[in-house]
C-alpha cells in the first residue's frame, strides 16, 4: 500500500486569501430578490424569449477566458443547463477557484462555509460539492480534513475544523466504516459490537459538534453501504442474512438520529446505490485510502447541496406544469380532450404515475399550477372531463392557458399566487419552452422532461427542489390556504369599498407564546420569509425553542383567521425584555396576509402589551436585506422615533450582532434603530379582532380595537 502522504500533496485546502478575506458567515438569505407583486398588481412586463437571448455562456468558456471569478454571477445560470460531464468539469475548476477572488469581485455572493471530514480521504467530494452548490447559487468556502482524523477534528473544540466556523460539516462515512475495527476471524456478533461502538462514537461526535460548531450549524452523517466483499466472507447463508439484518439496524439507528432542525442530518445512501451508483473502488481504497468512488461522492455531493439549500429555507414553493406530453399523452389542440390519456394505455399509465407523484408533492404543500400553450376552454374541459386522471381541475391553484411566452406565463402564475418567480419549478417536455423560462425567469428551476414519460418522475425528483428540513402542519395546509386567498381576492375584486371589504372579512388575529411543536414553523418563517422580515435574521428550530423557553426572551406566534378560513401560523415575533423595555429583535409575516392590517395590528398590540406590562419603552431594529427595503418606514409609521443606536450601545454587543446564535447580517449592513415611549399608541385597526399574550403566565389580555 502506498502511504497517502506519498501522493503529490494537495496544494491548498482553502486558499489562504479565502481564509483571510472571506467575511463572517452571511445571513442565511435565500438568493431571491424582491417578492412578486400582490395579485392586484399590474401585469408584469414582457420578458425576452430564447430567440432574443444571447447564446448561454458555459463554465468552460469562462474558465478558458480566465473570467470565472469576475463573471461568477453567470456561473449559476450556466450550470442550470449543464449535464453530468460539464458539471464534473465545472467542479474541478470551481474548486480550484479562490473564493476570496470571487468575493472581492462580487461581495454580495451568497456563500456557505462547509467543512468536510471523514474516516478516510474525502477531498474528492469537494469538486462535485462546489459545482452543485454553485448550481444553487452558493459559493462554497471549504475546509477539507479527514484522512483518518475525523474523531480529533470533531471532538476537539480547538481543531482547525471548528476554527473554520462551518455552517455545515460533512462527515463522510465510507464503506469501510465499522469494518476497520473488525478483526478476523469474525462472525455477525463481532460486527454488531463494532457497529454499536461506531454508532455511539458518532453520537458523541454529534454532541461535540453541537457544542463546538457555531450555533445553528448542522453535522451531516450518512448510512454506510454494505459491500458484497464483506457479506460473502460469511459462507453460512444464515449468518450472512444475520449480518445483513444487523447492518440495516446499524444504518436504521443512524437514520433515527437524524433531526436536521436540531443540527444533525443523516443522508441515506441506499437509494443512490440502488439507482446504480457503485459505492467503492477497492483499488483506490487499497492504494490511496479513497474508499468511495467518484460516482458515489458526486451523488453524495448532490444530496448534500440539496440539504444545504433546504437548511437555508430556499425550497421552491410552486410546481408549474405543461400539459401535452408532460401530464398526459396526446395533443389537446389536435385530438381534443377525448384523445388524451393518463391511464388505460402503456404510455398513459406512465403519465398517470407521474400525475400521482405530483399529487403526492401537493399533499406536502407544493402549490400546483398549469402553464400550457392552448386555448383556455379546452384546457378547462380536459381537466374537468377526465375523472380517471389522478389530477383534476381542483388540484391546480391557477391555470395559464394561452399562446404567449411561457416565461410570461410563469411570471403571471407567481404574481397570482403572491410568490417570487424564483420560487417556481417549471417542468416541460419541450426544449424550446424550457429555454424560454431559463432565459426569461432567472432563478426559477427548470426540469427537463423528455419524450419518455416513464422517466418523468426521476427527472422531477432529481434535484429535491421542494426538500425542507421538517414538514410542518402549515406545509400540508398551504394549498388550501392559497385557495382561500384566491376566494378572498375574487371577493375583494367584487367589493367597491376597501374598508367595507376589510370589515366584512371578520378578521381575527392571535399572538401568543410559541408552543414546542410550533418551533419548526417559526424557524421556517424566519428562513423563508423575505419581504416582511425586519432584520433577515434566520433561526433554527432549536434556537426558536431556546428563545421561547428563555426567562427574558420571547418567541411569539401570529395566527390569523377570517370568514374564508384559518390561515394558521403566519407570523413570528422574536423579542427580549429587560429594564429598558421590550426589544423587538425581529418581526416576520408571511406575504400571504399582507395588506389586511395584520402588520399594523401586530405592532399596535405589542405596544399596548408593553404598556400593560409596565415597561418603559419598545425598541425595534430594521436591517436592510435584499427584499425588505419597504419596511424601513414601518417603525416611524407607527410612532417610533429613530435613535442613533440600540439601547445601551457602546456597552453591549455590536449593533449588527442580532440575537446570540442567530445568523445575522453581514458587518456594515445598513440598519436603523427606533424607540417608542408608549405615550401615544396607534390604534389596532378596527376591522381586526386581536388577542395578544406576551407570556404564558400572564392572564390573557384582550386588546380592544379602536378606530
Amino acid at each position: 500500500m502506498v502511504d497517502p502522504g506519498a501522493l503529490p500533496p494537495r496544494r491548498s485546502r482553502t486558499p489562504a486569501s479565502a481564509r483571510v478575506t472571506a467575511p463572517a458567515p452571511t445571513p442565511m438569505s435565500t438568493p431571491v430578490p424582491a417578492q412578486a407583486p400582490a395579485p392586484a398588481a399590474p401585469a408584469p412586463a414582457p420578458v425576452p424569449g430564447p430567440a432574443s437571448a444571447p447564446a448561454p455562456v458555459t463554465v468552460r468558456d469562462l474558465h478558458a477566458r480566465g473570467e470565472l471569478a469576475r463573471e461568477y454571477p453567470a456561473v449559476r445560470g450556466a450550470l442550470a443547463r449543464a449535464g453530468g460531464r460539464e458539471l464534473d468539469f465545472a467542479g474541478r475548476v470551481l474548486a480550484q477557484l479562490d473564493p476570496g477572488a470571487v468575493l472581492a469581485a462580487h461581495p454580495g455572493t451568497p456563500r456557505v462555509r462547509i467543512a468536510v471530514t471523514g474516516r478516510a480521504t474525502v477531498g474528492e467530494v469537494v469538486p462535485p460539492l462546489t459545482a452543485q452548490a454553485a448550481r444553487h447559487g452558493l459559493l462554497v468556502l471549504p475546509y477539507v480534513g479527514g484522512g483518518g482524523g475525523y474523531v480529533g477534528e470533531l471532538g476537539n473544540p480547538a481543531s482547525a475544523l471548528y476554527a473554520h466556523e462551518p455552517e455545515v460539516t460533512l462527515c463522510v462515512l465510507d464503506p469501510l466504516t465499522v469494518w476497520h475495527a473488525v478483526e478476523e476471524p469474525w462472525q455477525p456478533l463481532d460486527v454488531t459490537v463494532a457497529a454499536e461502538r461506531q454508532r455511539k462514537l458518532l453520537g458523541e461526535l454529534a454532541a461535540a459538534h453541537a457544542a463546538y460548531a457555531p450555533r445553528g450549524a448542522t453535522l451531516v452523517l450518512n448510512t454506510v453501504p454494505l459491500l458484497r466483499r464483506f457479506t460473502h466472507q460469511l459462507t453460512g447463508l444464515a449468518q450472512r442474512a444475520e449480518l445483513g439484518g444487523l447492518w440495516r439496524e446499524f444504518n436504521a439507528d443512524l437514520l433515527y438520529m437524524s433531526d436536521p432542525g436540531a443540527g444533525l442530518a443523516v443522508l441515506d445512501l441506499e437509494p443512490l446505490i440502488a439507482s446504480g451508483v457503485r459505492a467503492d473502488d477497492p483499488r483506490l481504497g487499497a492504494y490511496a485510502d479513497a474508499h468511495c468512488t467518484t460516482a458515489l461522492l458526486t451523488a453524495y455531493a448532490s444530496e448534500a447541496a440539496h440539504l444545504v439549500r433546504a437548511l437555508r429555507g430556499a425550497a421552491k414553493k410552486c410546481l408549474v406544469l405543461d400539459l401535452d406530453g408532460t401530464l398526459w399523452d396526446g395533443v389537446l389542440a389536435e385530438e381534443g380532450p377525448e384523445g388524451l390519456s393518463a391511464s388505460g394505455t402503456l404510455r398513459g399509465a406512465a403519465f398517470g404515475a407521474f400525475q400521482r407523484t405530483v399529487k403526492q408533492l401537493a399533499s406536502q404543500g407544493v402549490l400546483l399550477a398549469v402553464c400550457s400553450k392552448n386555448d383556455p376552454e379546452p384546457v378547462a374541459r380536459a381537466l374537468a372531463e377526465h375523472p380517471e386522471f389522478p389530477l383534476g381541475a381542483d388540484d391546480f391553484l391557477t391555470v395559464v392557458a394561452d399562446w404567449g411566452s411561457k416565461a410570461q406565463g410563469v411570471r403571471t402564475i407567481a404574481a397570482r399566487l403572491g410568490i417570487a418567480p424564483e420560487s417556481v419549478v417549471f417542468a416541460d417536455d419541450t426544449p424550446f419552452e424550457r429555454e424560454t423560462v431559463h432565459a426569461g425567469v432567472p432563478g426559477a428551476a427548470v426540469v427537463p422532461l423528455d419524450a419518455e414519460p416513464a422517466l418523468h418522475i426521476e427527472h422531477l425528483l432529481a434535484d429535491g427542489w421542494f426538500d425542507t428540513p421538517t414538514l410542518t402542519d402549515e406545509d400540508r395546509m398551504r394549498p388550501s390556504r392559497y385557495t382561500q386567498r384566491e376566494e378572498r381576492a375574487r371577493f375583494q375584486a367584487g367589493a367597491t369599498d376597501h374598508q367595507a371589504f376589510l370589515h366584512s372579512l371578520d378578521l381575527r388575529a392571535e399572538i401568543a407564546p410559541a408552543r414546542d411543536h410550533e418551533a419548526a414553523r417559526l424557524a421556517q418563517l424566519s428562513l423563508r420569509t423575505n419581504r416582511f422580515n425586519l432584520t433577515g435574521t434566520r433561526l433554527t428550530p432549536a434556537r426558536v425553542r431556546a428563545l421561547a423557553e428563555g426567562t427574558d426572551s420571547l418567541a411569539l406566534t401570529v395566527r390569523t383567521a377570517d370568514r374564508f378560513g384559518d390561515d394558521g401560523v403566519i407570523g413570528a415575533v422574536f423579542a427580549r425584555i429587560d429594564a429598558q423595555g421590550l426589544h423587538l429583535e425581529n418581526l416576520v409575516l408571511s406575504c400571504r396576509v399582507l395588506g389586511r392590517g395584520i402588520e399594523e395590528a401586530t405592532l399596535s398590540g405589542l405596544l399596548y402589551a408593553a404598556q400593560a406590562a409596565g415597561l418603559p419603552a419598545v425598541h425595534g431594529t430594521w436591517r436592510r436585506t435584499r427584499a425588505n427595503a419597504a419596511l424601513a418606514a414601518l417603525y416611524p409609521d407607527h410612532g417610533f422615533r429613530p435613535t442613533p443606536g440600540p439601547p445601551g450601545a457602546g456597552a453591549g454587543p455590536p449593533a449588527s450582532a442580532g440575537p446570540p446564535g442567530a445568523t445575522s447580517g453581514p458587518p456594515g449592513a445598513e440598519e436603523a434603530h427606533f424607540r417608542h415611549d408608549l405615550e401615544r399608541i396607534p390604534p389596532v385597526p378596527a376591522h381586526v379582532r386581536l388577542r395578544l399574550r406576551l407570556t404564558e403566565a400572564e392572564v390573557e389580555t384582550c386588546t380592544p380595537s379602536r378606530t
Binding site: 503529490p8 494537495r10 468539469f89 474541478r92 474528492e124 483506490l284 490511496a288
Partner: protein, 75 residues
C-alpha cells in the same frame, strides 16, 4: 491515445488544467496546475478513454505525467 501529449490533452479537457507538452517530464508536485485529487480522477478518465483497466498502484506512484502515460498507456 498514442502519446503523452494526448494524456495532457485529456487532463486539460476534463480537469480544467492548463498543462503544456513540456510539462510531461516535470515532477507532479512542481506543476502549478496539479492537485493530488486530480490523480484519482485521472485513473477513471484513463480507464474510460482506454476501455480497459490501468495498473492503479503504479499510476498513483508515478512522479510525472510521462510516468503515468508509460505505466497506463504504453504497457
Amino acid at each position: 491515445m498514442h502519446t503523452v501529449e494526448d494524456l495532457i490533452a485529456l487532463a486539460n479537457q476534463h480537469l480544467g488544467t492548463a498543462l503544456a507538452p513540456h510539462d510531461a517530464g516535470a515532477e507532479l508536485t512542481e506543476l502549478e496546475d496539479w492537485d493530488s485529487v486530480h490523480l484519482l480522477r485521472l485513473v477513471a478518465l484513463l480507464e474510460s478513454e482506454l476501455g480497459r483497466p490501468v495498473p492503479v498502484a503504479e499510476v498513483l506512484q508515478a512522479r510525472s505525467l510521462r510516468d503515468i502515460w508509460a505505466v497506463a498507456v504504453a504497457t
